[in-house]
Symmetry: D2
Subunit: 180 residues, 4 copies
């Protein structure tokens, strides 16, 4: 089946968006790329920076991120929208953080069901990802380490790449070779 | 009919995105907001900064923007995706520049057909918009003036606001009062 | 005396940086522009997002900003550096928030002492500035209102502009006419 | 001699700013970090996006960057300003691209003369840097490859790091160990 959607799942600072940009450069057709950041930027400020109990995003002092029901309802619509774009002929790279592990994957799988999807795990050693988080200079410390393994637990992939020792472009080439 | 989508159309630097953020703050429910910038950011670099004949975005030396067939094909899928999000229950503010005037509106109207849409024209005097473009300090000079009137020609609205003398929040309140 | 430095003081969302960009466009010579944001971006993350007692920036839940001794020591060096740039022939626009009112102005006055300085107050009605803060969509609500009047109390100006009803470019032209 | 300034020189996408942010995190005292980007952002738009002959920045179609006399005059004042900040007690990391090789270094050396400076070369294999440029998704292609070796030719260092196979944090630790 032709690949219509490439889903990249990995923790914060694992290198997903760099891989997405490289995929756009190496894949023969034009692909769109959307990330969870695209969705979060679209939210009202109140859901983006929610205090406890607001139904939006909550970042614990140790960097753990949880989201509430207000976030989930809008996210479900967002996911369906992305699926429609792919059905209408746009090839789409999705750059995601499966905070809920297999439950998050299931949300995407149901929406994308009939489409040709390539599921890609973007791994990065937690300590290395934490160092890259420091290098970005603008992130809540701890998010990278907290998510490095957790987001992959129980998730099934067609392909896994590991950015610990490989460049984004190298990972993108490996993924592109599978996106037939 | 309940308003499910608010489409803001106006030229560059007319104040659309500020109105969109204010709408998110004043409307009682959570609304998502997406702009043509969201779509452009999702494009491959080759379509975002296209040289003549590439099928992507072209900005003439006087600031006039034209887009090619590669852009249009992906944009059609994007528009359908936004319509799906609204059909799945997300309320959506769309912040757009109808470079093609009524032809651009028609593209959105067909996709949104069955939804409750509030069409809003965001006007701004060309000279004032050009001054705001200068104040942003990062824009190709000329885009604001070139688009100020052109994007409204032949477009039909439920409501028009004018940011020449009114604040974003004030315009947002007028729009919110109509988004029943 | 030739104007070598233009200091713009105003609260958050009062429109200082837009005026600074317009000044660069309307003044005949090339001017550099630096803001308190330039300085804050240069700080280590620990001082930028400090928790209580860290010596860095603290933002209270109501938007009030206070800074500690670690911040002040580096800021003093920063101010001296800007003064040197002007002494070496660069014309400089400084975009500042005098959180300490006259004490803040005194810090700059001492460093700039021998230079030709134009002191400009950038006023904006607190409610209007708060609305513009909402329109930016990424600011801690309350900062604009909290600073609107406080930063001007006891500060002496050569010229005041008010962005409540005037565009950035208009304010810039009034300032440029005085920057001889 | 105590290190008061750390100068990082390397081509575009070699990883300098990531190393600078990591240095801020690992060095015991608070350090400021400024890059050539800080200076470029301070310039008037006309010098930032100059067309041929304007005296500002020119980027050739192959990514080669050259700067004119208007740029150089303001840059000289900027460099003196940074030197003053260090003399006044701020420790400063400078993140630079020596487009002029030894001539660029000489400009900094003269200004910093009496200060304790650690000169650091940030190397990255040209092909790897070009791949990272692609991963950023917003850069003129070719800049990284064009600068990878050229900016180091004839420049003298106290220490060189190579980001081709080493993380920013690792490089920062090696530099910090020398910044006594």
């Amino acid at each position: 089946m032709t690949t219509q959607v490439i889903v990249l799942n990995g923790g914060s600072s694992s290198g997903k968006s760099g891989i997405a940009r490289c995929l756009q450069a190496v894949l023969p057709d034009p692909w769109l790329t959307f990330g969870c950041d695209t969705f979060v930027d679209a939210l009202p400020l109140a859901l983006r920076t929610a205090s406890e109990g607001s139904g939006g995003i909550e970042v614990a002092p140790d960097g753990e991120v949880t989201v509430g029901p207000g976030f989930r309802a809008l996210e479900a619509a967002w996911i369906e929208g992305i699926a429609t774009m792919a059905r209408r002929g746009a090839r789409v790279i999705v750059d995601e953080v499966f905070l809920g592990g297999p439950a998050s994957q299931e949300r995407w799988r149901e929406a994308l069901g009939d489409l040709g999807v390539l599921w890609v795990g973007v791994r990065c050693d937690g300590a290395v990802a934490a160092g890259r988080e420091t290098a970005r200079g603008d992130r809540v410390a701890g998010m990278a380490a907290s998510q490095a393994d957790a987001v992959h637990r129980g998730v099934l992939y067609d392909l896994e790449v590991d950015t610990t020792h490989a460049e984004s472009l190298e990972c993108a080439r490996a993924i592109a070779a599978r996106a037939v």
